[in-house]
């Protein structure tokens, strides 16, 4: 279990992580999401004591990371693929890491096999592709058979097969009762890998909820209705709780009413419907809506459209 309490990191006048509180539970995969510069990596570095918090604290299984007698057995961490000396072979890197905790060479061979590095284990890391570097980083994280696994962008640079392998691996490890904290920019990947999400934006936690709940909250009961009698149908749903937008002559998007209710009302009024489709939001949309106001480095100069911002505010409210 990882617990952060008013965890804060300031670099000069810039606050990278702003009084963050969260708990990462064992036995499930927790996704760590947020735009670039949201403070994910900084938070992860603070968990393993590489960066010193400006304020607050973070503990792993009740103790600060550096207080543990066997840090590598407590936490396995992949921070970025570049945390490895390029002049050393993969095998020797793992051997040196293992030696600190008297982990036997047999375990080094095990993690090399597990991560599929047998063919390149004796080669110098400098010549590794991004994907190979990631596999080696994951091998190093698994070395101590740790109770907690922290992986920063583990699928970055992996091929589709590797992405699937990481997904199955972390799900398997979580099933063994381990604590898994995983960051990724790939929302589609998170949707199928994570059970729970912590979303960071501008150094603050903007959502901390199960994946299903986040997607559900983003859904907002929007239904797409196609009918030749669009104005007549729209007139049936004039209420402050319901928004009706007409995107084409025969196409309406109605929010705030269930699809069945729309169908019933249309039937009662004798309006023929050609299409009646509940629109379910993807995690991607939920994420975009959540982080709309919290993107540190926005592309282009335009602000988001007001409707989306309104939706984001609602969503943040609902998941808190």
């Amino acid at each position: 279990m990882i617990q952060a309490q008013s965890l804060t990191k300031r670099y000069g006048s810039k606050t990278a992580v702003d009084s963050v509180d969260f708990t990462v539970q064992p036995g499930r995969v927790t996704g760590f999401l947020g735009p670039n510069g949201a403070g994910k990596s900084t938070t992860m570095r603070m968990i393993v004591g590489l960066d010193r918090p400006s304020h607050g604290s973070v503990t792993v299984n009740g103790k600060q990371y550096r207080e543990h007698k066997a840090p590598l057995r407590e936490v396995g961490v992949l921070l970025d693929a570049k945390a490895i000396h390029t002049g050393r072979s993969a095998y020797n890197h793992l051997l040196a890491m293992a030696a600190t905790h008297s982990i036997p060479a047999s375990r080094v061979k095990e993690v090399i096999e597990l991560t599929g590095l047998e063919s390149v284990a004796r080669k110098r890391v400098g010549g590794f592709s991004l994907g190979m570097g990631q596999r080696l980083g994951i091998a190093a994280a698994l070395l101590g058979d740790p109770a907690t696994l922290i992986l920063d962008e583990p699928v970055n640079g992996l091929d589709p097969e590797g992405v699937q392998w990481v997904r199955q691996l972390v799900r398997h490890l979580a099933g063994e009762g381990r604590t898994i904290l995983l960051s990724s920019h790939l929302m589609s990947e998170m949707a199928v890998t994570a059970d729970h999400l912590i979303v960071l934006g501008r150094g603050r936690v903007i959502a901390d909820a199960p994946v299903a709940e986040l997607i559900g909250a983003a859904n907002r009961n929007t239904v797409r209705v196609r009918t030749p009698y669009a104005p007549e149908l729209a007139a049936l749903f004039q209420s402050p709780d319901v928004t009706v937008t007409q995107s084409e002559a025969d196409l309406l998007e109605i929010s705030g009413v269930a699809a069945a209710e729309i169908g019933n009302q249309a039937a009662r009024a004798g309006i023929a419907l050609h299409e009646l489709t509940p629109i379910s939001a993807s995690l991607e949309e939920a994420y975009m809506a959540l982080t709309q106001n919290d993107v540190e480095y926005r592309t282009g100069g335009s602000a988001g459209d007001p409707a989306a911002e309104h939706r984001a505010a609602d969503l943040q409210e609902s998941v808190r």
């Binding site: 617990q3 539970q25 590598l72 000396h85």
Partner: protein, 276 residues
């Protein structure tokens, strides 16, 4: 804990509990030994020190011309043998200074240091283990170079009427000092590399202290500067085995140890305080 209790989510399995061997200083020493011997720069540096030493000993002993002086006193003979055996160390110190810097700056430039410090989050034991391993390895390489140089030079020197026995403390002790100085230069440079966290900066600083500092000070015509000269790292170091200075060898070694202590103390404070 006084803070809010997190909601207990139903988990499929009971929380996994870590088990197995833990972090130890012996483990860190072994780790640093593996790290040192598995990068090419170490092999190249040490090989260079040995080759340069033997080559220079051979060159110096064969070109040495005593200009017809028939009889060389015994202390003079010992002094010649010391000079021939340790001549390579003057150059070797520059090589091990580079190695000392690289052994830590290589970790900073590649990001390896983050792996090292997550394995040993208290940090200072990493620096200590690195210093010990570097010291021991460099001392052994120094001894090989110096004793090797002695052996290489002995036949030619004997032909010129100069000989000294390794069993003679007057020869043996200065040779040990020279190896000690060489390994302390490596550790001193390790400290500088840790402080500066950069290969280029660390090497420049180490070579600056060893080479440039005595040269620049020599150019300043002031008495107090002249008084400082024996306290410069490389002067004190060479004085400890060629006995050219006014101080006892152990005093020279203490001065060198002072430089090492300052460098390591600075490194320790910054390593502990800074974000990695």
């Amino acid at each position: 804990m006084t803070t809010t209790v997190a909601p207990t989510a139903p988990s499929a399995a009971p929380a996994f509990v870590a088990s197995g061997s833990g972090l130890s200083f012996a483990g860190l020493l072994r780790s640093e030994w593996i790290k040192l011997r598995t990068v090419r720069s170490t092999i190249w540096s040490y090989a260079t020190v040995i080759v340069i030493s033997l080559g220079l000993a051979l060159l110096m002993s064969s070109t040495l011309d005593l200009q017809g002086s028939m009889q060389v006193t015994e202390p003079e003979q010992t002094s010649w043998m010391i000079q021939v055996s340790t001549f390579g160390i003057i150059f070797g110190q520059l090589v091990v200074a580079v190695l000392g810097v690289l052994s830590i700056s290589g970790e900073y430039s590649t990001g390896m240091v983050r792996s090292s410090l997550t394995a040993a989050p208290r940090r200072l034991p990493v620096l200590a283990a690195k210093a010990i391993v570097l010291f021991v390895c460099t001392y052994i390489v120094g001894l090989i170079s110096i004793v090797g140089s002695y052996l290489v030079a002995t036949p030619t020197m004997a032909g010129k009427g100069i000989s000294a026995s390794l069993a003679d403390p007057d020869l043996f002790l200065p040779l040990m000092s020279a190896a000690l100085y060489l390994s302390l230069v490596a550790v001193f440079s390790l400290g500088l590399g840790t402080i500066l966290r950069s290969s280029a900066g660390g090497i420049a600083a180490a070579l600056g202290v060893i080479l440039l500092l005595p040269t620049v000070l020599q150019l300043i015509p002031a008495d107090w500067v002249a008084d400082m000269m024996p306290y410069i790292l490389s002067n004190a170091g060479t004085d400890s085995f060629v006995m050219s200075g006014t101080m006892e060898p152990w005093q020279n070694i203490l001065i060198v140890l002072g430089w090492v202590a300052v460098s390591l103390a600075g490194a320790a404070v910054l390593l502990k305080r800074r974000d990695a």
